[in-house]
């Protein structure tokens, strides 16, 4: 399925424990990294643990492709009383994306942290990163509603601390981290309250069990309230417009390493939970839910796409431009999910994957190029392509992909999005995506003009070529952007089987497959 099956060489007894190991590995490594004697050791642990998690995720994904849903009873207590890790194609896809991005971020982090954080703090930073990784992986694998809350908070607390670590370089990181903490905790508490309502109505916390019991209930008022609380809480975490205010500040002042990782994974994990609740826990055909998606989620997505694209078009700071664009891209995903069709969910997942690949590359290039540059104003990147050609070429490729230029991953996923919207008779929504792509031309064009066509400032640009350990993951992502733009078998296969797993359909629209 993913071309990495050859990695599935773990002994059987070992592979059986993969759902637990994928989370436990980074968690133990996080403790070890904090205690590591030096920054080299911490970095080594970080790369090793991420690679281990990726390996386990590959094992999981190929097992899921082979035998279907894996149910793992944590601690040997069987579901529904015990905590169940339930891995289907959707979970496997997210585990692969998150752990894969973690490996690249971990490699990137070595040199990047060097210039941004005091070296005595590196082990703490790596520890926070691994905690966050463990939390996100647990979040996408668990089949227990309350357990998901705990994992959500484990990952978030690591993120708050890491964003605040950027304060040594840019003090605006402190209020940004604080606001994110407030909004994130409100979101998580809303989720907690929602789970409480579901528990009150169904008497169980296992997601599959809740799904099985909902149809047997006579009154569903508390289910409706629970759904509302859960979705609002998760929308806060996923930065769905208008609950996105924390994101641009957090992304523009945090250390590059964490922004690279967050932009590719953290809001995506919340999108995962939204999909999980909308499709697996509640059936998509439930009336309240279809009403919610048509009258709340879709208009908010459209507003988010347009308003945030425009904000990206006028902002002077390069990282904030990318952050606003991220909110707009989350809007694309929720818009496609709101169609409640299998093709829509599959297109949303496909775009989510591609967006992770392109945004990680963009932030990585900015982080690498700006190693000697304190400012993030777009104007300071004038002529950067001349002083850092390799870094900026990769940046350019990813930016074209963000724009949706043909032969890049972004083009194919936008095509799929538009096809799925048209197929669902949402032509107006497809038009919105077209319009926002036009605005995208404007803000990407602005960046291009400054980076590639403007002459260097007097005395030479402060931007320098990034070191090899940054160029390596960066170019891997840039090549992936082109590769997946020509041959999208891997992301498309993942997205379609994931959508099939949650939508209960095996045959999906064959249209648009390259």
């Amino acid at each position: 399925m993913i071309g990495l099956e050859f990695l599935n060489i773990a002994p059987q007894r070992f592979a059986e424990q993969a759902p637990a190991l994928v989370v436990v590995g980074p968690l133990i490594a996080a403790c070890a990294a904090v205690l590591a004697p030096g920054r080299r050791w911490a970095w080594f642990l970080c790369v090793g643990a991420s690679a281990f998690a990726f390996w386990m995720a590959v094992v999981l994904a190929s097992e899921v492709a082979r035998q279907g849903v894996i149910s793992y009873a944590m601690g040997g207590f069987p579901a529904p009383l015990g905590i169940e890790f339930r891995v289907d194609a959707l979970s496997a896809m997210f585990a692969l994306l998150i752990s894969g991005m973690a490996v690249l971020t971990a490699v990137f982090s070595g040199e990047s942290l060097e210039t941004e954080i005091m070296s005595s703090k590196h082990p703490l930073m790596q520890g926070g990163f691994l905690t966050c990784l463990a939390g996100l992986l647990g979040l996408v694998l668990t089949g227990d509603a309350f357990n998901a809350f705990v994992f959500l908070e484990i990952s978030s607390i690591g993120v708050y601390a890491m964003i605040a670590m950027g304060g040594a370089r840019d003090r605006r990181a402190y209020p940004a981290a604080f606001n994110y903490l407030i909004m994130g905790t409100i979101g998580a508490t809303f989720y907690l309250i929602g789970v409480g309502f579901l528990y009150a109505a169904t008497g169980t916390l296992n997601m599959a069990d809740i799904a099985a019991r909902i149809p047997t209930l006579t009154s569903d008022r508390s289910i409706e309230v629970g759904l509302a609380f859960i979705l609002i809480g998760l929308a806060l975490k996923a930065a769905v417009f208008p609950l996105h205010q924390w994101l641009p500040a957090a992304y523009s002042h945090a250390p590059s390493m964490i922004v690279v990782f967050l932009s590719a994974t953290a809001t995506k994990a919340s999108v995962y939970l939204i999909i999980r609740y909308l499709s697996t826990v509640f059936a998509f055909d439930w009336q309240v839910e279809t009403a919610f998606m048509a009258f709340v989620l879709a208009p908010l997505s459209v507003a988010g796409i347009l308003i945030c694209s425009m904000q990206a078009a006028v902002d002077p700071e390069i990282r904030r431009i990318l952050a606003y664009s991220s909110v707009a891209q989350v809007g694309y995903m929720t818009l496609a999910i709101a169609t409640a069709t299998s093709a829509g969910v599959s297109a949303a997942l496909f775009h989510l994957f591609n967006h992770g690949v392109m945004k990680a590359a963009l932030f990585m290039a900015i982080g690498g190029a700006a190693i000697h540059l304190k400012s993030q104003r777009l104007s300071d990147f004038a002529g950067a392509a001349k002083s850092a050609p390799w870094t900026m070429t990769a940046f350019g490729i990813a930016a074209l992909s963000l724009l949706g230029a043909p032969l890049t991953a972004g083009f194919l996923s936008k095509l799929r999005l538009i096809q799925s919207l048209v197929a669902a008779d949402w032509g107006w929504a497809a038009a919105v995506i077209g319009l926002s792509s036009l605005i995208g031309v404007f803000y990407v064009g602005r960046i291009f003009e400054v980076v590639f066509f403007r002459s260097e400032p007097e005395g030479g640009s402060a931007v320098r070529e990034a070191p090899v350990s940054i160029l390596l993951p960066l170019w891997l992502l840039a090549i992936a952007n082109i590769w997946f733009g020509i041959d999208a078998t891997i992301p498309l296969g993942l997205a379609e089987s994931a959508a099939g797993a949650v939508m209960g359909a095996t045959t999906l629209s064959p249209a648009g497959a390259p």
Binding site: I157, R171, Y174, P175, L181, T185, I186, G196, A200
Partner: protein, 156 residues
């Protein structure tokens, strides 16, 4: 309505507290007060769970060994027909699961609170203030390039 109030007044109180804490959280600009509001909000979510777990007339879910001294004393106190049917430990008891869940949520809350307060300390060190308005003003002043015009220095 009266019935709903008689049995559900706990929830009304919890919702009122929840809204009050959210109000504090969203209206104050002081970092410490925000953390207080946040903690209260999390606590009310916990209270909600605890209220759910209460079963009318229920006691603590403790299993009593019928052979032990406590069990004997209890059997002597209870109606023999009741003991015959339910056993000494066969009483109605509250659902213990929400208590365990909230124990976990409290731990999460403590962690969030400590991280939040630590960041608040950092904000004060960096800006000399714990009011978000002052922080915003300081940032706006710092990010504006020197204004052209009155003070005469042309903007490069």
């Amino acid at each position: 309505m009266i019935d709903a109030l008689a049995t559900g007044y706990v929830y009304a109180i919890i919702v009122a507290m929840m809204m009050a804490s959210l109000f504090v959280l969203l209206t104050t600009g002081n970092l410490i007060r925000k953390m207080i509001g946040l903690s209260l909000f999390q606590t009310t979510a916990g209270l909600f769970y605890i209220a759910l777990s209460k079963v009318g007339g229920g006691t603590a879910p403790i299993i009593i060994d019928a052979e032990s001294a406590v069990g004997q004393a209890r059997a002597a106190r209870l109606d023999p027909a009741y003991v015959e049917h339910f056993g000494v430990d066969g009483v109605v008891y509250g659902n213990p699961l929400p208590h365990v869940l909230i124990l976990t949520a409290i731990v999460v809350g403590v962690a969030t609170l400590s991280v939040g307060l630590a960041i608040a300390v950092r904000v004060r060190e960096a800006y000399g203030d714990t009011e978000l308005d002052a922080v915003r003003r300081a940032d706006a002043a710092a990010s504006e390039p020197e204004p052209p015009g009155p003070r005469g220095r042309p903007n490069a």
